[in-house]
Symmetry: D2
Subunit: 465 residues, 4 copies
């Protein structure tokens, strides 16, 4: 994870490529959907590390001139999103430091659940912290290890942390990729000419024309240096628990995640949903973009025409200035607009991936009704979200999750839908079609593979720059 509980991130690493930082930059661009708040790259020329981080989108931060100042044949990168108010350049990654054995930089996707406890302990022993990032805890554990090798120190450090982490690490001599024993967050390995690349999702490989090799295993510590690849599995075994929500919402449809194509899984989710919750209707429309795959699957299975009844405006920018004479449902309208011809006078099945607080869904339903829908049937391609994520997906607290407090029937009334139905947990697992693989489904079941943390205290520093 990154910081607070509610951060989402994407990471990339490149080893042995003449234009390593440029390749990482493109990889981050492909992973931009995993975090739009800040981005950073750290490169290594074999002697030193070079770093540049800033707030904003990858394509706005990195110019040719800046990439030139990030020389070397290896580099790592990070994109990050945080809903916390303290979004700040100090919390941007990769996290880079000097310590006794040299310089090191880490890019981290996932959340630790014992970060606060470890931080208190480290501070008690004299460590000082300059950010709110969990990653800084890992850094301190590495630095305080007495082990003679970096590998040893890393094992020492990671043995102490609990929770979700996919990491890429760079030093002056090697690139390291590692994934926690539960394998919560994805991390894949690819070949790029004579070098290697790791990334959160395979869509990064497609852009840079790397060849997919395999996933980094849960609990694997992979060291890439001049001797090639060395794989370690030093941690205690744990139940493999990849995040099932990557399929439902988070990953890009063209990516392969945990061995399956995201778009294909989403179509399966839609098909299962159609089987479980059929309805007589004239048209199936998705809430774009994340609902498109499931809607196509639902429409196909149900034999109802698929159509694009909602158009998304992609010209995202800074916060919008709303007129005082307030527009109804402004927040939704700025992103989505109905196509009246598709909806008017029709019985409409709307397919979305999930319902969080319910407020946005309610506005979308209203928008569809105003466009003339005769009936609105909402179909959700996952089970009710009843519990927050502590492993790297941005979710509100349990109290804010509508399904943690209301029954499906109550939610149906709240949303003013004619009918509302969620995919069952069984349906979800059928759709993923990976017999024998367990997943982390804590957001739907409240069963956390790793014990949940205490609420963290407020950060004490307010840093503006």
């Amino acid at each position: 994870m990154c910081r607070g509980f509610h951060d989402e991130c994407g990471i990339v690493g490149v080893y042995n490529h003449p234009e390593a930082s440029n390749i990482v930059y493109l990889g981050l661009y492909a992973l931009q959907h995993r975090g739009q708040e800040s981005a950073g790259i750290v490169s290594s020329d074999g002697k030193r590390l070079y770093s540049h981080k800033d707030m904003g989108l990858v394509a706005d931060i990195f110019t040719g001139e800046i990439l030139k100042r990030l020389p070397g044949r290896s580099a790592i990168g990070h994109v990050r999103y945080s809903t916390s108010g303290e979004s700040h350049i100090r919390n941007a990654q990769p996290f880079v430091v000097d310590y006794a054995r040299g310089s090191i930089a880490i890019a981290h996707n996932g959340n630790l659940v014992n970060a606060r406890i470890l931080r208190d302990e480290l501070e008690a022993y004299g460590s000082i912290f300059q950010s709110d990032m969990d990653t800084e805890v890992i850094m301190h554990l590495i630095a305080s290890s007495r082990d003679a090798t970096l590998t040893g120190r890393l094992i020492h450090a990671l043995t102490r942390v609990r929770g979700a982490y996919s990491l890429v690490i760079i030093t002056d001599s090697c690139l390291i990729a590692t994934r926690d024993p539960h394998g919560f967050r994805p991390l894949v390995l690819g070949r790029l000419r004579d070098g290697w690349v790791v990334a959160s999702e395979t869509c990064a490989f497609d852009l840079i024309e790397a060849e997919y090799v395999r996933q980094i295993d849960a609990g694997e510590l992979l060291i890439i240096d001049e001797r090639g690849l060395t794989s370690h599995k030093p941690f205690q075994k744990a139940t493999y628990s990849p995040c099932i929500f990557e399929f439902i919402y988070f990953a890009r449809p063209d990516s392969n995640v945990f061995g399956a194509n995201v778009h294909t899984v989403r179509k399966n989710l839609g098909r299962e949903l159609a089987r479980e919750h059929p309805v007589r209707a004239d048209v199936v429309i998705p809430v774009p973009d994340s609902g498109v795959g499931a809607a196509i699957g639902y429409a196909e299975e149900a034999g109802i025409p698929f159509d694009m009844g909602l158009v998304r405006n992609h010209y995202i920018g800074r916060t919008f200035i709303e007129p005082q004479d307030s527009i109804r449902d402004f927040g939704v309208k700025i992103k989505l607009n109905p196509v009246r011809d598709v909806i008017d006078g029709k019985r409409v099945v709307v397919v979305d991936d999930s319902i969080v607080r319910g407020t946005t869904s309610r506005k979308i339903i209203k928008m569809i009704r105003n466009a003339g829908a005769k009936e609105v049937h909402l179909r959700i391609s996952s089970p009710p979200t009843i519990a927050p994520c502590f492993y790297g997906i941005d979710t509100p607290t349990r109290d804010e999750l509508i399904a943690s407090k209301k029954s499906v029937e109550e939610i149906n009334r709240f949303l003013t839908t004619d009918t509302l139905a969620y995919l069952s947990l069984e349906g979800l697992y059928r759709a993923v079609r990976q017999a024998g693989t367990s997943f982390c489904d804590a957001c739907f079941t409240g069963r956390y593979p790793v014990e949940i943390p205490q609420e963290r205290g407020q950060p004490q520093l307010i840093l503006f720059k």
Copy 2:
């Protein structure tokens, strides 16, 4: 048009709303697809005009603080795109000046064909020009008119120009909307509480919750002031020739343009295409986003499953820094990525709206083949583009249009498609389904409703700021 031949624009005007500039800002955001290079708003508080223009996206240019500096109950706005190298803040609109009878600002969508001739004439009589915009010609004609009323001066000015113009004009006392006698570019009128709004497309009305009233007629000069609406039709009648390409590519699918819904027309285009050029295949995929509607129509008519085989990355930013170790088809890859699971081993129908130079299409086809397609059949939802537009759509010169020089069979070979087929002109008209309405189809037929201009000279000023 705006300047050069090859500009695309969107315009908005609001009369009598307490937050006029804020409403125009939202309208421009909804029209952002019509131009992403520069944007501007001019407001009127009944005494003065207030102006702000800059390069960039609407949501980046206008902050709350800037909107506060644009007071008054009326305002107009403009978004603009230009492929010409001389993109420049001096050419941003609305165009605002002082002249003998006060201050006036114009926002212009469309291209004049006799701008160069008029400009030479005006300069010969002592006028000076500070931009390359056709709009400045209109301004000079208004200023040099001896007519006693603004309406009279406007009629005088517009009687002299030839070509495409949809204009919104603001002064300290009124808002004026007008469309050239051929009606090339769209312009619609709406009601917003006690006030009025005009915009290029109805999608702007949806966001600001204005009620659609009607189109501004071709050749209509509509004056909105404290006495209400006054409509004039002072120009010589001409054949109504709305731009058919707005349906095919340019307008937003959720907009109504020239009285029809764009998405519905696109689905019809796809259906006609399927009837004219059927093919045995496993899946129909669009080139997103403009090809989606036609692909849905094609798939439905052909009874072949529709799917999203290409994913679009919407995180547009500045020019991308390409590695020297060049990635194949970089320009396409940065925008599109195939979903291998959808394509691999399949006979694929790819639906796109048009082919311009052919180079991008060729790269897309290659990308689809590399993703494992067994067969690739390209279907274009319009006839071959053989002639440039001189009325406000950005097209290259005739020589650069692949269909102006090659036969469909030759293009098929160039693109390396298994089969290639274009919709016929008859099919196009059937899809639009507006019996009796003529359209400007010059890009497909070379028949220009208004005589084409001579090639314009190079501009003599290079303005960087």
Copy 3:
């Protein structure tokens, strides 16, 4: 002048130098004291004009990259200061346009007194105005002239304007320098290798290592082109009236202006002041920086030690944020601080160049008293300022000039000085030591060489960008 009445400017032109825009940039840097609000350069490569203007300091606006985009062997530049609220990039110079005979750019120092009348007339004949600059009037007059040659058109235009102008003009083939028949504002000619340079002050020549040749004469129109220099004197003779205030305050001490060194004149002013208004005192201190020369002269003549009793903070920046718990005399303190050791227990003669509203002087006197001065004697190295300037120096209206309403004795009481004395008009002329030369001394006498203008109307456009 530039616009409104109250603008100050500096201008430079270079003809036939391989790095013309770079040389102009350095010249503008040397003239930065003449205007810190905006700066601009227009270059010519013999075919086209290239322009860049922006708000801010010369050294901040022009980077190497921007200078590269201003190619060619000729260039002109402009720095500008305006106290008017409507400071704006649209009013930045050089002013550049297209007209019937090509492109032309003008940089203007001075103020026209009949700009409003000419503008009304031009607008009545159909001209449109895009700025508030007097320079735009000149441009329109040039464009509307029927004369066959540029020289002829320029003569035609300048014959119509009244007031102060030193101009440098650039086209694709020549550089033109001209000064109004009264010669209000300075303009000098220099040799730079095989080329020529003109500038407001000679300090610009020193930095770029140009050799001073002569002044541009009052009423001279100097054309520099491939045939060399051609001098015209087409205007009706007028009394030579160079601005005497350039010596007192405005020009840089290291410059030669109207044939004399500014610093030397200022020392003479101080000497005359000492002779006219001696006082028993322990130390003579200047109000830096403009009072330094006169204070040195006063001290020498009076035989009283000179010292720096006030230190100036040169780290100028944006508007300072004053604490609510307001600091006494904040505006002065942010710029000046007394050296207590120099002042404490002493009878102090303070030498300043002029008193405008009196409020700043009052604060400075208070500051000196608080630093322990036993007596404070203020000596002003010019006569009382009783009338505003309409020819290019930024002064407030007559009502705001303290000396227009109060006697010297009343001002002395207002300032709380022990004694206050101004240099006499005779002393001023003795100090300048140019027997036979008349000067414009309107600010001290109210005798305007060119009739004063009517109050101008408010501008109607509020342009933010």
Copy 4:
């Protein structure tokens, strides 16, 4: 110090003022001459610390909006200059961290000589470093102390460091000011209404209208909290060694430093110089601004007229773009220009504060000769600079100091002066006129009060943001 050896800094702290951060901002503005590269403020509202730092000038970095985000009744600030290439926002101060006992921020002026050794030791025990600043070493020592109180931890930490430090420290409950036992760098205490203020120089007090109370003693640790002032002297006594170079060059003339007024000392330096090294001449001119005081003293003592023969251009900006057709002595010309009238045909005494490499002085001498000087006699108001400073003044390495390798006669020949003379060490001490006070004069004698450090290693991180 700040980082590397070659940094210069200014610091301010305010305790108990309703607009603490605004007052610190003004204090930093007054101290801007001590560092123009970066600036920062950290405020405390009694619960949290708030921080803002950036590259640039104080007046450019801090807007009203930013100051509003720095609430609370206490605040500290820092300005910094570094010649090292690795200037970077990460090395900007105040340095702010979380550790076991809360949050703390430090602003540091001075250089530690054992920072590298301590850093290696701390890293060996597991500390990680995120900057190159010596200050981070102090922070780690505080954090690793087991002492129960902050005072105890601070004493623990500062007992371990060697070298120069004047510090202001802020926590949620107190402000701390401390100065190393040698008292290298200045630090003064003032009263501001009901609160307290500390600053590097008294000129900061003048602007904010604080009342000077006393110096912070060498070796004093002053704690300011709700109980008032508590002074500790916990460190081993050391010879008082304030930096004599503050008088000669670094401090502002209107400041009192180490109990004496800087301008007065500089005049004394000039007088001593005139006594030791008289010369027949027509005029005495300073190299502005630092040479002004000594030149006034020299002129007075020698009975030769003082004049401003060189004018300084204060419109500092980014790096200047030099024409390829290089201007002679460009670097000097951009800052200084001679007044020919003052110099031409004269025997000139030029007074400067010191000679570092000699290259700039040589260019100035040449410039004066070109302006017509008959003789040029250079007088330096300090002894030859033969050794680098390791305590907080930016000096080049010993090899680059011209006086470390050449005799005065050799330097005279290199500079092409007619005569060259330096003030003697005895003269320097006479001028300071503080009998019984020792000073650090290492730059003139090579006698370092604290043993000099080993050359530090290269930093391993290159951080751009």
